[in-house]
């Protein structure tokens, strides 16, 4: 990605993130979050990770943002009255991230600002076959095919089949968990807490 475009989208993402944490209104925060994620998706696409960029927009800017807005509307939250923030937490919230950023910057300064190597599609085409080879020869990067090959494996490379199964189980457990959590009636322990409070 050319440098000016990189800076444009990086600044878009950073501004979205900053306005997300500064907005009092949670709905405005959620919409700023979309700005941040769209900027990041553009950065992914600039790194030739087209599929990841599109997934970022679909999953984060689509599904997760809708879920947040839905919950905010469901709870009917009003924009909070100005609350006095604790000085200690504001100080910690400024100092710790700045220290982190300085450390990151220090490490990057030492490692230099070298450019990415160019992708060499013609060389890559020699060791591939089928559709991947065709696209590479035409000068296109078939990154969806390549990610699929990495994920499911080839006769030579093992792939990630077991983690994929485990992720499936995780999604099932999360679904069941959400159903149990949002079921009405299972709140005896919380009512006793309310009485003691």
């Amino acid at each position: 990605m050319p440098q000016p475009l990189f800076y444009l989208f990086a600044i878009l993402a950073a501004l979205g993130a900053i306005s997300m944490i500064l907005n009092r209104n949670p709905v405005a925060s959620a919409l700023s979050m979309v700005g941040a994620f769209v900027g990041m998706a553009a950065l992914f696409i600039g790194l030739h990770a087209y599929l990841v960029g599109i997934m970022q927009i679909l999953v984060y800017a689509g599904a997760i943002m809708v879920l947040f807005i839905f919950i905010i509307m469901l709870l009917d939250l009003q924009p909070g009255k100005p609350r006095s923030l604790k000085a200690a937490s504001v100080a910690a919230g400024c100092v710790i991230p700045v220290l982190l950023l300085m450390q990151v910057f220090g490490v990057l300064e030492q490692s230099g600002w070298e450019r990415f190597e160019e992708l060499d599609l013609q060389t890559a085409a020699e060791t591939r076959s089928g559709k991947i080879e065709e696209s590479l020869k035409e000068g296109k990067l078939p990154d969806t095919h390549l990610i699929g090959r990495t994920l499911f494996g080839t006769p030579e490379t093992p792939g990630y089949n077991l983690p994929l199964q485990i992720i499936g189980v995780l999604l099932l457990v999360a679904t069941v968990g959400v159903v149990v959590l949002s079921k009405k009636g299972g709140t005896e322990s919380s009512t006793t807490k309310n009485e003691s409070a």
């Binding site: 709870l75 991230p97 600002w113 959400v178």
Partner: protein, 107 residues
């Protein structure tokens, strides 16, 4: 036109992570804290994709990093669903989502 370098991408990712961390520490609204957590996960994804692009093997990016990004996106989506369900249950029993009003575990 010069392309951007690996270090610039890593710095952008560090910046977004730091903003998310600041939000988690400063904000009191638990939904906004949750959004900041998502931002931190996405910033980690940016690091992974940048390293995947920089580690060229046979002329192509190293796709192991991008596979890991998919797993992270999946885990993040599951985490948001469960977390928001917990927030709704919390709101039902306490009528608040401000973390400084949730002090029943304070010693």
């Amino acid at each position: 036109m010069n392309p951007a370098s690996l270090s610039e991408y890593l710095f952008a990712s560090g910046l977004l992570f730091a903003i998310g961390l600041a939000g988690v520490i400063v904000r009191r609204n638990i939904i906004v804290i949750f959004m900041c957590l998502e931002l931190m996960l996405a910033a980690a994804n940016l690091t992974l994709v940048a390293f995947s692009r920089s580690h060229i093997s046979e002329g192509l990016p190293d796709y192991d990093g991008q596979v890991l990004v998919f797993f992270i996106i999946t885990v993040a989506a599951a985490e948001v669903a469960v977390g928001l369900a917990i927030i709704v249950a919390l709101y039902r029993s306490r009528q608040t989502i401000q973390v400084d009003e949730l002090t029943s575990m304070k010693g």
